[in-house]
Symmetry: C2
Subunit: 432 residues, 2 copies
Amino acid sequence: MSSPLVEVRQLRDRIGQIVTVRGWVRNARTSKTRFIELRDGSGFIQCVAGAEVCDPESYEMAGRLTQECALAATGLVQTHPRSGAPELLVQHLELLGESRDFPITPKEHGIEFLMEKRHLWLRSKRQWAILRIRHAIAKAIRDFFDGEGFTLLDAPILTPSACEGTSTLFATEYFHEGQAFLSQSGQLYQEPGLAAFGKTYCFGPTFRAEKSKTRRHLTEFWMVEPEVAFAHLEDVMVLGERMMKSILERVLETKREELSVLERDLGPLESALSVEYARMTYTDAVARLRELGSDIQWGEDFGNDDETILMNAMDRPLWVHRFPKAFKAFYMEPDPEDDRLALGADLLAPEGYGEVIGGGERASSLDYLLGQISHHGLNRADYEWYLDVRRYGGVPHAGFGLGLERAVAWICKLPHVRETAPYPRMMGTLRP
Amino acid sequence: MSSPLVEVRQLRDRIGQIVTVRGWVRNARTSKTRFIELRDGSGFIQCVAGAEVCDPESYEMAGRLTQECALAATGLVQTHPRSGAPELLVQHLELLGESRDFPITPKEHGIEFLMEKRHLWLRSKRQWAILRIRHAIAKAIRDFFDGEGFTLLDAPILTPSACEGTSTLFATEYFHEGQAFLSQSGQLYQEPGLAAFGKTYCFGPTFRAEKSKTRRHLTEFWMVEPEVAFAHLEDVMVLGERMMKSILERVLETKREELSVLERDLGPLESALSVEYARMTYTDAVARLRELGSDIQWGEDFGNDDETILMNAMDRPLWVHRFPKAFKAFYMEPDPEDDRLALGADLLAPEGYGEVIGGGERASSLDYLLGQISHHGLNRADYEWYLDVRRYGGVPHAGFGLGLERAVAWICKLPHVRETAPYPRMMGTLRP
């Protein structure tokens, strides 16, 4: 057959033409007319094989297709009379790859089984939709920062010292240098970049060896971390909000089909695109939580449950700012108006999702940082390079980190973060 | 001062206006008129402080500025009479951050010292130019694959088994699962994605614990790995060449200033954008190398020296294809016309740079792969999930990997790959 090869996404422009598509059989129903749902990664197409149009061998083949076999289907592109979607009136089929007993059948499977078969589970319409949205979010993030004049400054994964505590680090032997640790954050590596580039970001995998199984934690996750010279706490909230809106705009513009596969209610996303985000100090948030029934005490960090309670009660994203210094990173700028507090700001997503962004202003005083390093029992020698940022033309600066998988979980409204990555890594999950 | 804050890159549009710029002092020359070279990451601007325009305190300050102190400079944007570039006629200066004895002075420094001070070395004009070009290359790569309808499928870093040999792996304890290894390639994780997405790519850090110090090797480097269903060896060469040209087009279009900082001869880049790349079988390349004086024997892999010799003699990038199976990965499709060979193709960059792309067609036969796994002494159980790609709708497919840092090294014409990453990791280099 010499008809043109086209991708399913292009079929709308081929109505009335004879074309060939190649893909995998998602489903095949056989009666007098045979209906084949074919998928090529760019989209889904119904192929209709009837005895009057299809050649006899192909018609016969269409009656015994197995789930996930690979096919080339040639035929006339027409518009489905009711749905208006393109469909293919099959003239000829060619079997390209056999498939016997595909393990994931249309029946329900347990999550443990699906996670073991993640490499095959990817073929489900739901996983296709989620990971295409993940891609759109990642691209929107990069386009946003590139468009704002940020320079991409990839942070190293292999690092000689701990950035946010030592108990949750993956370690590896590094030649004669002793142990290296997998980075938990690229932030310390962004700050020295400011005097060179003014505005930087990194966007890569980060690691936390947390011995906990929650619906919000992966051990390996992607994080984007912008950092801006001359910026303050307020700038972090403004920048983070603009970035979130740019993500939502992109997803709503380009991923309607995928959102519809997920049956995602678009209302909360459209709202988060148009409204101004709420703001609340940590102190007010604690009071609000206690009204809502939490037993949190001032000075304690939010637990997952607290974030859920707080954000179930909100109709829009919420910035919580000015946290107790005690549970925040050593490098945060203290609040000049209350020295118990640090100038941090976290963005919590609505619909019960909780933290997606954590950030704030970085301490600009060398003396303050030296005190903090000593107070936190850190090894000063490990941080001399980082302290140099303050020694040579130090200026106020601020930034934040957005966890990609948490943004995906909220935007797709997933019950668990394990579906947000192609091959998620959690405690107990290292394969495939 | 209430004049508008602008970035240096925007000054061309502000001629005749009073503005404020903020940045770091790269250099300050003092005579009757004081010349300050200021840098804000978006560009470089000469500030001219003369006694007749500048206020007295600022004029005095301009006479004692130190290297790398941070400044806000307010004044009139005008065009330099000879160069035509914008310059700032200073009315007022404000010191934002002091700097004493910046370690990297205009004199020459040894490479060991510069690597130890990498976080400060980033401020040099040369490193600024290289890393901005790196950013442009990375962005061009993503835009290329996104524009072609590929889906980004991030590969995991923490993997349970070795992909390309076990001697060069970084290992870490992974809870109760035993050892995890830092990924050397995302390719095995792309292949199962094809039946879901048709065309995929990953682009993230990869790791090789190679105990060698060469000008071409980092232990941590970024690699883009596209994979295409229904593609063959020829498609790999066509796709790789189109990607390279799209990178070169972007860099030549948007990074002229940076290339000029590096004094990069544009001829070879412009040529590689316009000519068709050369092609040579491995067998012919060995013969050519022997003519050029190498003692390579048929069946041996190219050494760094061989690639240098071969590519010093070429005026354009070169595809070498059809290599002996013996030294290529177990998953390569055998050549149907010569079963000693595998359908692989590497792209070597000219000017002596050597391999930047490695790729080829993947074996589509389950039986052949089972034989290869056994022949290479691999543990079949580790690969069952990967073999599933062939069990359920297996089709021909192919792909490649491009090492970002090697592309940067060639395009910037750097003598060593250590300058291609913000914080390079090599044997002996884990800090800062």
